[in-house]
Symmetry: C2
Subunit: 197 residues, 2 copies
Amino acid sequence: MTSGAADKRRLILDAAVRVFARQGFHTCRVSDIADEAGVAYGLVYHYFPSKEAILDTLFLERWEVMLAAIDEAAASDLAPREQLRAIASFIVDSYRHDPDLMKVIVVEVTRAANTFGRTHLEQIMRAYESMARIVAQGQAAGVFRSEVDATFAAQAFYGLIEQVLTQWIFSEREIPAEEFEHVKAELVEMICGGLDG
Amino acid sequence: MTSGAADKRRLILDAAVRVFARQGFHTCRVSDIADEAGVAYGLVYHYFPSKEAILDTLFLERWEVMLAAIDEAAASDLAPREQLRAIASFIVDSYRHDPDLMKVIVVEVTRAANTFGRTHLEQIMRAYESMARIVAQGQAAGVFRSEVDATFAAQAFYGLIEQVLTQWIFSEREIPAEEFEHVKAELVEMICGGLDG
DNA sequence: ATAGTGATTGACTCGTCAGTCAGGCACTCC
DNA sequence: GGAGTGCCTGACTGACGAGTCAATCACTAT
C-alpha cells in the first residue's frame, strides 16, 4: 500500500517530536526515535538522510504555517492592536495544541544560535519583518507611538511570546485553558499599554 | 609559584569562553579548550571534574555578579523606572564588556531548557523575582499600572533584554557604542511607555 | 642530597552512536 | 512461478571524544 509508506514517515516525524521534546536533540539517539516510532533503526535512514534532516523537516513544516498565519493577520483589515492579538493567539494556540512540537522549535531551533538557529535564520527573520510591518502601519495610522523603532517593538513582542512559551516549557505543568486565554490578553496589554500609569 | 596554578585555571576558563562561544558547548571538544588555553589535555581534568563543570563555573561566576547588581538596583532609592534602567544598563554593559561570555550564558544556559537551564533554574528564577519585586513596588507606589501582573511584566522586561542580546549574538556585527546606549533607553521606553499613543 | 607535594603532560581506553549494507519480505505484473 | 520493485530490518562498522593514568617536572622543606 502506498499510504502505508507515507504513514511510516509521519510516524517517524511524530515520534521524533516526542523524543526531541523529552531528551533534547543532542542527547537523544536515532535509535530512540526508531523505538518510539515502533520502527526499525534503518527505516529512519530510508526516509531521512540524517538526524538533522528530521529536525529541519519538523521546523520548516510548522514555521511555514506560522508565517502564513502572521501574514494573514497582517493583511487583514483588523486594527493593528488586534492584528498583534491574532498573532499572539495563533502562537499560544500552537503551543496549546502541540506543546512538544513548539518546545522543539523554540528550544532546538529558534533559541539555538550555534546550531540550527543559524541555518534557519532567514525563516526566523521573515517572521520578525512581518510583525515589524504591522507595528509600522500602526505608527503610520497614528494609533501607535513613533518613539519606538518598529523593528525593536516587533522584537519585544516576539521576545515576550517566546519568553512566555519558555516559561511554560520549563515549568512542565499542564497549563489550564483559562491561563492560555489570559496570557493572550495580558501579552497585548503589556506591549501596547506599557507599565506607566 | 602558587599564582601560576591559579593562572592556569583562569587560562582554561577564559579559553573555554572563547571556544564555547565559537563552536558551542555540545560541538566543541575538551581538547579544543586545552589547545586554546595552550595547556595539556589532562590539565583541564586537574582543575575541573568534567566539561560540564567548566560551563557551570562560568555561568555561576557571572550570574552571581548579575544578581548582586540587580539587588543593588532594587535596594536603591531610585525611581522604579530608573531601577529598571540600571538593570538594563548593567546587562547591556556586560555584553559590551565580554560578548563571548554573555553569548555562552544566554545560548548555552539561560535558553537551554533541556540541559543546563534545568540545572540552574533556581538561579535564573532568582533574577526574575528581584525584577518582579521592582515592578510590584512601582505599582504599590502608583507610578506603574496594576493591570499587568508584576511577574509577567518582569518576564517581559527580561525577555526583551535577552531578545536584544540574541539579536546581537546572531548578527555577529561589531556593535557601535551609541547603539548600546540607544538600546538601553529604548528598552525602558518600550516596557514602560508601551506602543499605544 | 633526598624526599615529598602538587602541577603538568599526552598517549591510551572504552563506551557510544550516526550512518551503512546485505539481505528479507510483500506485493504486483507478466 | 518468477522476476522486479520498493518497503523494511537490525547487526555491524568506523569515527570520535570524554575521561583516565602512569610518568615527568618544578619547587620546597628537611
